[in-house]
C-alpha cells in the first residue's frame, strides 16, 4: 500500500488510528504489528512470508549472538546472520543482474530466475542488519519478544521507503512511548506536507518527465526543463515519503530521525550527502566505512574505503549499471573534494559553490534515471547544445509555460525559505491562523489529485 492512495488515506489510516487509540497501551504494539502486516500484504501478498521469515531469522540470530556474547561464537552467529539477510537480498534483488553480466562471458547462457523485487526489502534488510550488529557490539539490548521485534521491522510508516530507522533509535519507544496532542498535531503537519510534496509536486513534475522521455523533439530548453524537473521530482518524491513516515511515526508515538535537510542548498558534495538520505549514508558510515578503517588508515586504504562505500551505495539503489556508475561518480567527487577541492570551495563566493553542487547533482540524476549510456550522454551533452539540436521547439516552450509555476514552487520548496518565514517570531500570530487552514486545504487538494489520478477517460473512439 502506498501512502498516497485512497485505500491508505481513507480506509487503512482511520481504522488503524481508531483501533490504536481505543485499545489499552499493552495492546498498542500488537495493533501496529497486525496493521503493518496488512499494509505490507496489500502491496506484496506473496512476499509477506519472506518478510516474516527474515524477521524470524533475525530474532533467532539476535538471541544466539546475545547468548554467546564475549565468546568468539558471537562473531560466527553474526556472520551467519549476515549471510542469511544479505543472501536473501542478493537472491531477490541482484540475482538476475549477476546472471545477466555473467552471461556476457558465457557461451551457454544461464536462465534468469523468475523473481520480482520484494517492496521494501532493501530497507528492512538494512534495519535488521543494524539491529544484529548493534546487539553484537553491545550497543543495543537483544529483543526477546518476537512480536516487538517484528513490530520494529515491519512498522508500516517506515517499512517501504525509509527512513532506515535503527533499532537503537526507537528501542525505548517500543517498550514505552508517550502520545501527546502536540506530537500528534506535529505528526499530521509532517504527514500532510509530505503528501503534498509527493502528490502536488513530485507527481506533477513526474508527468513532465514522462512526456519528455517520450518526445522526439529534443531541444536545449527541453533538456534543461527535464533535468531540473527530474531533480526536483526525485527530491520531493523521496523526502515527501520520509516526511509522511516521520509524521505517521509521531502520530503513533515514535520519533524517527530526520532523513533530509534541504540537500539542494548544500555547499559541497560532501555537504550534500550530509543532507540527502541521511539514514542511508549514516548507515554506510557506521556499518561499512568505519569498520573498514574509515580515514584512520593509509591513504590508499582510505580511498579504497570511500570507493567501496559508494559502490555499495550505488548498488543499494538498484541492480543496474547506471546505479553503480552513479555511486562511483559520487565516490570520485567526494575523493576530489576531500583531497584538494574543499579548501577552494570554502574560499569562493557562496553562489558558485551552490551552482557547482546543483550542476553535479543534476548530472547525477540524469545518470540515475538513464536507460542507456547513449541516452545519458545525449541528455548531458544536449544541455550545452552539443549535437546540432535547436534551442527551443514549440513543444518545449509549451511545457515550459505549462510547468513553470510547479517548477518555481518546487525550487522554493527545496530551500528553507518557507520554513524560516513560518518560524519568524513577528509572523507567529498570523501563521498560527493560516497553518491549520493551509494544511487542511493541502490535504483536500492532494486527495483531489489522487482521485483524478484514475482519470481514465472513456475511449471516445468507440464511436
Amino acid at each position: 500500500m502506498v501512502f498516497s492512495s485512497i485505500t491508505f488515506l481513507f480506509y487503512f489510516l482511520p481504522v488503524t488510528l481508531a483501533i490504536y487509540y481505543i485499545v489499552p497501551n499493552k495492546f498498542k504494539n500488537l495493533v501496529l504489528l497486525i496493521a503493518s502486516f496488512i499494509f505490507y500484504y496489500f502491496g506484496e501478498p506473496t512476499y509477506v512470508l519472506l518478510m516474516a521469515f527474515s524477521i524470524l531469522s533475525t530474532y533467532v540470530f539476535g538471541i544466539l549472538i546475545d547468548k554467546n556474547k564475549k565468546t568468539q561464537y558471537a562473531k560466527v552467529w553474526l556472520i551467519l546472520a549476515l549471510i542469511v539477510s544479505i543472501g536473501l537480498l542478493v537472491c531477490f534483488k541482484y540475482m538476475n543482474f549477476i546472471i545477466e553480466n555473467i552471461n556476457l562471458w558465457l557461451k551457454h547462457k544461464i536462465d534468469f530466475i523468475n523473481v520480482a523485487l520484494p517492496i521494501g526489502i532493501s530497507f528492512y534488510t538494512f534495519q535488521m542488519i543494524s539491529y544484529l550488529i548493534d546487539v553484537y557490539r553491545g550497543q543495543a539490548k537483544v529483543q526477546k519478544n518476537i512480536l516487538k521485534l517484528a513490530m520494529y521491522v515491519s512498522l508500516f510508516p517506515q517499512l517501504i521507503a525509509g527512513p532506515i530507522v535503527r533499532y537503537t533509535t526507537i528501542e525505548n519507544e517500543i517498550e514505552n512511548r508517550t502520545h501527546t496532542m502536540e506530537k500528534f498535531a506535529q505528526g499530521i503537519r509532517r504527514f500532510i506536507i509530505g503528501l503534498a510534496k509527493k502528490v502536488l509536486i513530485a507527481n506533477v513534475l513526474g508527468e513532465l518527465c514522462t512526456t519528455f522521455l517520450k518526445t522526439n523533439e529534443i531541444s536545449v530548453l527541453y533538456e534543461w526543463i527535464y533535468a531540473i524537473s527530474a531533480m526536483l521530482q526525485i527530491y520531493f518524491d523521496f523526502s515527501g515519503y520520509s516526511d509522511m513516515a516521520i509524521g505517521l511515526g509521531k502520530m503513533f508515538g515514535f520519533e524517527f530521525l530526520e532523513n533530509f535537510n534541504y540537500p539542494y542548498i548544500a555547499k559541497s558534495i560532501t555537504d550534500f550527502w550530509r543532507r540527502w538520505h541521511i539514514s542511508l549514508s549514516s548507515w554506510f558510515r557506521d556499518y561499512v566505512y568505519i569498520p573498514l578503517g574509515g580515514n584512520r588508515t593509509s591513504k590508499i586504504k582510505w580511498l579504497r574505503n570511500i570507493m567501496i562505500v559508494w559502490l555499495l551505495t550505488g548498488l543499494w539503489h538498484g541492480a543496474a549499471w547506471n546505479f553503480i556508475i552513479w555511486g562511483l561518480y559520487f565516490g570520485i567527487l567526494l575523493i576530489i573534494e576531500k583531497l584538494f577541492l574543499s579548501k577552494y570551495l570554502e574560499k569562493i563566493p557562496k553562489v558558485f559553490t551552490h551552482i557547482y553542487v546543483l550542476i553535479l547533482v543534476m548530472i547525477s540524476f540524469i545518470i540515475f534515471n538513464g536507460e542507456s549510456v547513449n541516452q545519458i550522454v545525449t541528455n548531458i551533452t544536449s544541455l550545452v547544445g552539443i549535437g546540432n539540436i535547436s534551442l527551443t521547439t514549440p513543444e518545449s516552450i509549451y511545457y515550459f509555460k505549462s510547468y513553470f509555476i510547479p517548477i518555481v514552487i518546487g525550487i522554493i520548496g527545496a530551500t528553507p525559505i518557507l520554513k524560516n518565514i513560518a518560524n519568524t517570531e513577528k509572523y507567529k500570530k498570523i501563521i498560527n491562523i493560516l497553518e491549520p487552514i493551509t494544511l487542511l486545504v493541502l490535504f483536500i487538494i492532494s486527495t483531489s489529485y489522487i482521485i483524478d489520478g484514475s482519470f481514465n477517460p472513456f475511449l471516445y473512439f468507440r464511436f
Binding site: S5, T7, E44, E435, P436, I451, D452, P457, F461
Partner: protein, 363 residues
C-alpha cells in the same frame, strides 16, 4: 495557549476529514456508471484466493475506492481548477478550456502509428480497390485552428506520410474548408450544420454534382454535452445539437450489418437514451452500415471508410448516391470485408480524423 488551540484545530480538522469520508464512503451506495465521464465505475472487487494472493485485489480495491469516492466529480473539478488557476498549467490531463471551448492536445505526431494506419489503408486498396476511384481526406483536430501557441499536429505532415505509403489515391484537402467555429465547444467532432464547405470540396474533387443549392431544414434537437465536457470536469455551457434534414434524408433507410437492424439516418431515440448524444447520427458506432436512398437520381454508390466524423457527414453526401456503405476499420478487420461488400466500381473515400490516424487502431 495559541499553540494548543492550533494543534487542536489541526487534529480535529484532520480527523473529521479522515473519518467523515471513511464513514460516508462506507455507507454510500455504489454507483454503476459515471455520466460525466461516460464510463462504467469500478465495483467492489471479487474476493477469491487468486485475487487475494496475486495482489489483484488490492489494485482493484484502490480503483474501486477512487471511482466510488463520495463527491468524485467535485474533487475532479477541484483538481482541474487548482491545476488551472494555482499551477497555471496550460492543460489538465491534456484538456484545456479556452474562451468557453474545451480542447484536447493531440500531440506529438506518432510517425509509427500513422505509418501503421497508412499500411492498413494500403491493405484495403491492394486487396479490393484496384482500378477504382479512391480518395482520401484528413480531418484536422480542432486545436489546429487555434491561433494561440497550443500544440497540434499539422495535417500536411500526416498527408505526406500516408501519400508515401499508399499509391493511387487522390488527396482532398479540407483544412481550408473548416474553421474553429465548425467544431463543437464541448466535443471533438464537427458540427453537421457547418459542413457545407467540406461537402462542396469533396463534390468538386470527386466530380460529383454540386449540391450547395439543395435546401436543408436545420432542426435543433437539444443541449449537447460533448465528450470533453465530462473529461475536463469543469462547468461549461452546453452546445446545441442540430441536424440537417430534407425529404431525401428522411426517406433513406439504414441497415446495420452487425445488429441486422434497419433504421433511419437520424436516430432521435438514441439522442434521448444514449450517454453520447452524437449517437443521433446513424445510431452511433458501428462496423458496417449501409444507407440506401430511394429517391436517388443516380445509380452511383459510395464506400466511405470513416470514423465517427463520417456519421454526420454521410447524410450530406446522399444527394449524389443511391447507396453509401460506411466502414469503420476500427471495428472490422479489412480481410473479411469481401464477405459483406461487393467491390465493383463504387466511389471510395477514406475520411479519417488525425486523432484516429495517430493511434494504431485500424484493423
Amino acid at each position: 495557549m495559541q499553540e494548543k488551540a492550533k494543534n487542536k484545530i489541526i487534529i480535529i480538522g484532520f480527523a473529521l476529514i479522515l473519518f467523515l469520508f471513511f464513514m460516508i464512503n462506507l455507507i454510500k451506495e455504489d454507483e454503476q456508471i459515471s455520466i460525466t465521464e461516460r464510463r462504467k465505475l469500478a465495483q467492489f472487487p471479487k474476493i477469491t484466493f487468486e485475487t487475494l494472493s496475486s495482489g489483484k485485489f488490492s489494485q482493484n480495491f484502490e480503483n474501486y475506492a477512487i471511482d466510488q469516492f463520495v463527491g468524485r466529480d467535485s474533487f475532479r473539478t477541484l483538481k482541474a481548477v487548482w491545476s488551472n488557476y494555482v499551477f497555471k498549467q496550460k492543460d489538465n490531463n491534456g484538456l484545456f478550456l479556452l474562451n468557453n471551448s474545451i480542447y484536447k492536445i493531440e500531440y506529438p505526431l506518432n510517425n509509427g502509428n500513422i505509418q501503421n494506419s497508412a499500411k492498413k489503408i494500403n491493405n484495403v486498396c491492394q486487396k479490393y480497390l484496384k482500378g477504382m476511384d479512391v480518395y482520401f481526406s484528413i480531418i484536422p483536430d480542432k486545436t489546429y485552428y487555434l491561433k494561440e501557441d497550443y500544440l497540434s499536429i499539422e495535417p500536411s505532415e500526416v498527408e505526406e506520410i500516408i501519400k508515401n505509403s499508399v499509391e493511387d489515391m487522390e488527396y482532398i484537402d479540407i483544412t481550408n474548408s473548416l474553421k474553429l467555429e465548425d467544431y463543437y465547444k464541448t466535443d471533438l467532432h464537427w458540427k453537421q450544420e457547418n459542413l457545407k464547405n467540406v461537402v462542396s470540396k469533396i463534390e468538386e474533387k470527386m466530380n460529383l454534382e454540386n449540391t450547395s443549392n439543395i435546401s436543408y431544414e436545420t432542426r435543433q434537437i437539444g443541449n449537447f454535452y460533448g465528450a470533453y465536457y465530462g473529461q475536463l470536469g469543469r462547468k461549461v455551457s452546453p452546445d446545441k445539437l442540430n441536424i440537417l434534414s430534407n425529404k431525401v434524408i428522411e426517406d433513406c433507410t439504414t441497415y446495420n450489418y452487425e445488429t441486422k437492424k434497419t433504421g433511419k439516418v437520424y436516430d432521435e431515440e438514441k439522442f434521448k437514451s444514449s450517454s453520447d448524444k452524437y449517437d443521433i447520427y446513424l445510431s452511433g458506432a458501428a462496423a458496417l452500415i449501409q444507407v440506401e436512398n430511394p429517391n436517388a437520381k443516380t445509380e452511383k454508390e459510395l464506400i466511405l471508410f470513416r470514423d465517427s466524423f463520417g456519421s454526420s457527414l454521410a447524410p450530406l453526401l446522399l444527394e449524389n448516391y443511391k447507396k453509401i456503405t460506411l466502414v469503420d476499420l476500427r471495428y472490422i478487420n479489412s480481410n473479411i470485408l469481401g464477405n459483406y461488400i461487393n467491390f465493383e466500381n463504387q466511389d471510395v473515400l477514406f475520411l479519417y480524423s488525425i486523432t484516429v490516424l495517430n493511434q494504431n487502431i485500424l484493423k
